[in-house]
Subunit: 249 residues, 2 copies
DNA sequence: AATTCGCTCGCACACTGTTCGAGAATCGTC
DNA sequence: GACGATTCTCGAACAGTGTGCGAGCGAATT
């Protein structure tokens, strides 16, 4: 095995081409996102993408080295959809970024899939994480703790949203309603509950709940996010001065 | 579009076959995990898997409906590798599950990939979440908060570990050392840092750090996990009685 | 002995990502 | 204008994919 190098779209530089006519990288990426949104991950193929752009499939390979690069670019596009807040309060900044990222992932469920296989090194991803780090540094975290706290927030946000997005998009692409899925899943859960009465109680409560599933998930996300931020604020040298603003709910 | 149903390995029942000879589902799943561990996600094909079992590719389709079902089964196998702790302290139980799951994911990096595309509904996944829920209920959480808290812990654990596993396995499969990757990435980060001095400082600190990368990541994971658990314990009716045991570090 | 069942598997189909090399279109320079 | 260089497009082809179909096999049941 020869001495390999680590490559990514972001490690090669890219001249933005000379003329307006014909294909361009931005145009291709935009079409990629559209196609992914419309038909999902497994429907994306170079031939289909080419056809959508009125071009041959292999023409794309001039602008992009391979499909993975295309996915890296598309992923960063999603990070770019996160609106970066402007506020003094670190809690406001971090929770805005978290909710914004969540919204972006839910709007582009294939994101999860890409994130699981490719590293997120694009400028927009950097931007998100830089925003978090800046806010956390201002809040009073020191050195490595800044990274750790930022990573914790991003990790929770992605980990909480990704499976949710995967699930809802799997339903949508197969044309199944959420009620239908819950009905189909019931026997399997019933089976699992035989060994774990704890789960059965949870499931019963979920079925009988009057809260609709979407609100339910937002509550769940909020619960975890607030808990994480509370836990982080305990790590600040003086946490008393900031710890009140989440209690107003 | 006809009225579809939601299907999964776990929604069909499965007779465990009659004789010992020939293929069996367990055997196939075991071979799948082995192949995935050895050669990674994109190397898994039905033909290769069949060959490894000394069978034709299409023979597998008798025991498993399709490749996705196989991946669901393999994923649950990873959840099954998590050792379920036995303790009174909810903090001990939850953090043991979190660290166990983290270890399992790091040992089987393809897990991330599957989780991003398929729902985790298997018995072992249920078992993990039931363990968490039971501990949290014993700790004093009520009703929905039990789910929320359990989901928060799982979300953080998966969200923190998944990209890490994806990254390290991408390096390994391409035969790249971590130092080499950091060297290759440097210019891209440098470029990104131009706009965000915050990131540049973080990166400098990481490069100059004397802590080795693996320990660094464990520290980061621990930081977020402890923060999350601290935040959760604030939500307990009486948090005073439990809040001391993390201060011992 | 005949029949049914559980299981294996070769063939075939429609499709995939990507390489290669021939060609077209456009540019900078004379 | 003309000519060479550069930038870009794309058809053909290759090796490989998941999986439906239906012919066949051995063993258990009738």
């Amino acid at each position: 095995m020869p001495e390999q190098r680590f490559t990514s779209v972001w490690t090669r530089e890219h001249k933005p081409r000379r003329a307006q006519q014909g294909l361009s990288r931005e145009q291709i990426v935009r079409a990629t996102v559209e196609l992914l949104d419309a038909e999902g991950m497994e429907a994306l193929s170079m031939r289909k993408l080419g056809a959508r752009l009125g071009a041959g499939a292999t023409s794309l390979y001039w602008h992009v080295a391979n499909k993975n690069e295309l996915l890296e670019l598309a992923m960063d596009e999603v990070f770019g959809a996160v609106r970066i807040p402007d506020s003094e309060s670190w809690r406001e900044v971090t929770s805005n970024v978290a909710w914004g990222l969540r919204a972006a992932i839910m709007a582009h469920p294939w994101f999860t899939f890409v994130l699981g296989s490719l590293p997120a090194l694009g400028p927009n991803a950097m931007n998100c994480s830089a925003t978090l780090c800046a806010a956390l540094a201002r809040a009073g975290f020191q050195k490595h703790d800044i990274d750790y706290a930022g990573a914790a927030i991003l990790s929770y946000t992605i980990g909480a949203t990704a499976p949710e997005a995967a699930y809802t998009s799997a339903l949508k692409s197969r044309g199944i309603t959420m009620e239908q899925a819950q009905r189909d899943l019931a026997p399997a859960v019933e089976e699992a509950a035989r060994a774990h009465p704890e789960i059965h109680a949870r499931f019963q409560e979920a079925v009988e709940s009057t809260i609709d599933p979407i609100a339910h998930r937002q509550l769940s996300f909020d619960f975890g996010l607030v808990s994480m931020l509370d836990g982080l604020s305990m790590r600040l040298p003086r946490s008393a001065d900031m710890s009140a603003d989440h209690l107003t709910k």
